[in-house]
């Protein structure tokens, strides 16, 4: 779930008409000073970080005057908390709090609906209150088609003992919170605490919200760069990976970095899984051999070969891995030769200079294994391919053995690419561009591209391969980016086929710029 900072979540509450403290976002101590001067008197300086217990970590501080606010801001900014650097502050008026409550919305799998949760006692330790005294907490299912009315909110407040003005104001707040959560596609939205001030106002003193990753596309206004569940901001490479995935709904590509700044020989493996359950088992198999993982990657749900290729390139871009391990459930339904071709294209262009063990079991695994084995002799490092009858543990021990036997790479080998086209025939695909070098095609005896093209969109025209559909159709998905016209042509043809699959931002990461 993509998380929002407190100041972002509060902005959403305010839009919906929920009262929030007067506050100003600051990114430098000077801005904090100005903010404090503007707000007047005592302020709270709150470091913006996705962690719990901010107060006990010194990220929430009370200042009596602007000068003190500036000094506190300087102390908080730049702090490292659980791998997270505090870069933003929220400077707010200090509230005169009379009473604290809790209000939250969470999507509940059992109810198949959002639940609205209200507690007449808020603040820290709300979980303990919930487990010790369940009656102090009220829950109601929200009907997503109808919304949650203020009267329902009042009823919920009443069930926890509220009355009078508190009940009235809280009913209104709860109804609005439900609306905010739904319109922001929030998996959870919590106000803890909701406070009653000395002035008789109900104010959201803090707020955390997590947005459904799958709905981030509906919310450009939230400025979520990477719609992934991280407990820290995304790395630059994770951002690059997300750009590959964002608009491409063909299969799934998930990428998270688990080790950074590692060196060759430290036993860090590039991990490429397929499918959640199978990937976890495969990860465990590598970990049992005492390796560390650079990343967790999952390409599944029948992704095109192009997506698997990009995933592999991004895995390599992380740094000097000692081996490459790809393994999923072992009995995949997707045609595994797509993944095989994606990997082979990456291994040739990289090219692969550390041992790789690839377990592509499942549908059409024989073809997948054959494609990988065909590429193996061309590569500077050993590559072995396995199928569904070879366990993840067996494959992990193969990788372990290969790493022990293979000398560590010293120089970066040259990419293995087809020669530059002299007579290019080109067409665009959904995410790239195909080039067939007709000069090479003329001398090609096999014309293997025509036969192996998965969507069958190539035909011979005057002895040369051309599209049998319109360019427009090819660009809109007629070409499925199966990569046969590059990979199969490289093996069996005149090496005239190439598909350019740009990965925006990757070159910068690879050169470390």
């Amino acid at each position: 779930m993509a998380r929002l900072h407190e100041f972002q979540a509060k902005a959403l509450l305010k839009q919906a008409g929920i009262k929030i403290p007067r506050g100003i976002v600051a990114r430098t101590p000077e801005e904090a000073l100005l903010a404090a001067e503007q707000l007047g008197d005592s302020v709270v300086v709150k470091g913006q970080a996705w962690v719990t217990g901010r107060a006990s970590r010194g990220l929430i501080r009370f200042a009596d005057d602007p000068g003190q606010a500036e000094r506190m801001a300087a102390e908080i900014l730049g702090q490292q908390v659980e791998g997270f650097q505090v870069e933003t502050l929220l400077v707010e008026e200090k509230l005169a709090i009379v009473r604290e409550f809790y209000a939250g919305v969470i999507v509940d799998d059992q109810a198949q609906a959002p639940l609205l949760i209200f507690s007449a006692v808020g603040g820290t330790g709300i979980e303990e209150i919930a487990s010790k005294d369940p009656t102090s907490i009220g829950k109601r299912v929200i009907d997503v088609r109808r919304g949650f009315y203020d009267y329902q909110g009042r009823e919920l407040a009443r069930s926890t003992g509220l009355s009078g003005k508190e009940l009235l104001l809280m009913g209104d707040l709860l109804s609005k919170l439900a609306l905010v959560a739904q319109s922001a596609d929030a998996r959870s939205a919590e106000i803890n605490p909701v406070v009653m001030t000395a002035g008789g106002e109900i104010i959201a003193a803090d707020c955390r919200m997590t947005i459904d990753d799958y709905a981030v596309f509906r919310h450009p206004e939230l400025g979520i760069e990477v719609a992934r569940e991280f407990d820290r901001p995304a790395t630059r490479l994770e951002t690059v990976a997300w750009e590959v995935e964002r608009d491409d709904y063909r299969g799934t590509f998930y990428f998270i970095q688990m080790a950074q700044d590692f060196k060759s020989g430290e036993g860090v493996i590039g991990f490429h899984g397929a499918g959640g359950g199978g990937s976890m088992m495969s990860m465990d198999a590598v970990l049992r051999k005492n390796y560390r993982l650079a990343d967790f990657v999952d390409t599944s749900g029948n992704p095109p070969a192009s997506k698997v290729y990009r995933a592999a390139r991004i895995i390599f871009a992380q740094g000097p891995i000692d081996g490459y391990f790809a393994s999923g459930s072992g009995v995949a339904s997707q045609e595994q030769y797509h993944s095989a071709r994606g990997l082979v294209k990456a291994f040739l262009e990289q090219p692969l200079n550390v041992p790789a063990v690839i377990r592509l079991g499942g549908n059409a695994e024989e073809r997948a294994i054959a494609i990988l084995e065909r590429a193996a002799p061309l590569l500077p490092a050993p590559l072995e391919a396995y199928g569904k009858d070879d366990s993840p543990d067996f494959c992990a021990s193969r990788l372990d053995e290969l790493i022990r036997l293979t000398p560590r790479p010293t120089a970066t080998p040259q990419p293995i690419l087809p020669p530059a086209a002299t007579e290019p025939y080109q067409f665009d695909t959904v995410t790239g561009q195909v080039t067939l070098d007709h000069a090479a095609c003329r001398s090609c005896e096999t014309k293997i591209c025509i036969e192996t093209c998965v969507p069958q969109i190539l035909k011979l025209d005057d002895g040369l391969p051309v599209l049998s559909i319109t360019r427009e159709q090819a660009r809109h998905g007629g070409c499925t980016e199966c990569l046969a016209c590059q990979v199969e042509c490289y093996f069996e043809g005149a090496q005239g086929g190439y598909i350019d699959l740009p990965i925006p931002g990757l070159a910068r990461e690879e050169t470390g710029a």
Partner: protein
Amino acid sequence: MAILVDEGKRVLVQGITGREGRTRTNLMVEFGTQVVAGVTPGKGRQEVDGVPVYDTVFEAVEVCGSIDISVLFIPAPLVKSAALEAIEAGIKLLLIVPDRVPIYDVLEIAASAKDADARFIGPNTLGVLSPARATIGMIGGSATTAREWFIPGPLGISSRSGGITSSMAYYLARAGLGASTLVHVGGDAVIGTPHPDVMRMFEADPDTKAMVMFGEIGGSQEERVAELVAKGEITKPIIAFIGGKAAKRGTRFSHAGAIVEGTRGTYEGKVESLRTAGVTVVEAFGDLPEVTRRVLQEREVL
């Protein structure tokens, strides 16, 4: 008997002319599923694998008569509308294949399905397959592999992971243990037909003698299965494996998650509640076939 799908069910494919729709229609038809119609708005009057394509679900129902199941191969952002269309057209079982369907869309589909007395499986599901009978979705990928991998038998298989659905069934079949039906319930946080529902269906199916379940950390599905067993609503033996033991404890929804879930959702919590209820929990995935065989022998099914 089998659950959810068999050769008697009349199936519609929404999104039949797309990349996945086409490929998996071929799988379903070749496997023996009665695919009677397809729908892609704007592409009516075409044919895919001999299956007529219509512009709307209502048109398909008008022309072809009643339809039991709709299988959705639709890009995630468009799933809600397609699912509501199928429900409104009177279809009682939906299989929602795509990944990345927004969760509030799923909640709205769930609310409409409940009103219409309809059920959905998924989203993010590989599908359902009853060996030697019929299949919906994309389990096996092609009819040839699906026939080769899966054999009929006494086990009801239910899984939260697509790949593991096939691999469990395959490794069990290799050990001579066939299945009545395999169900991938879907990988998302909110799904239409979770493990407890599937277990109830298997309990009621005379051909199913025992269930094999792949659970995962997070959510409450496995705990709810344990409750059903403890209450005596499920009496057939269950053999379970829970994935994610080594995974870092999942990110919780902060306070709200803790209030709603308590200790549910963790590996230890799931294993304990299942074991306490009398479910056999297997620690190593590779042991599943052997343990399953032993349980079946103890219960004198084999």
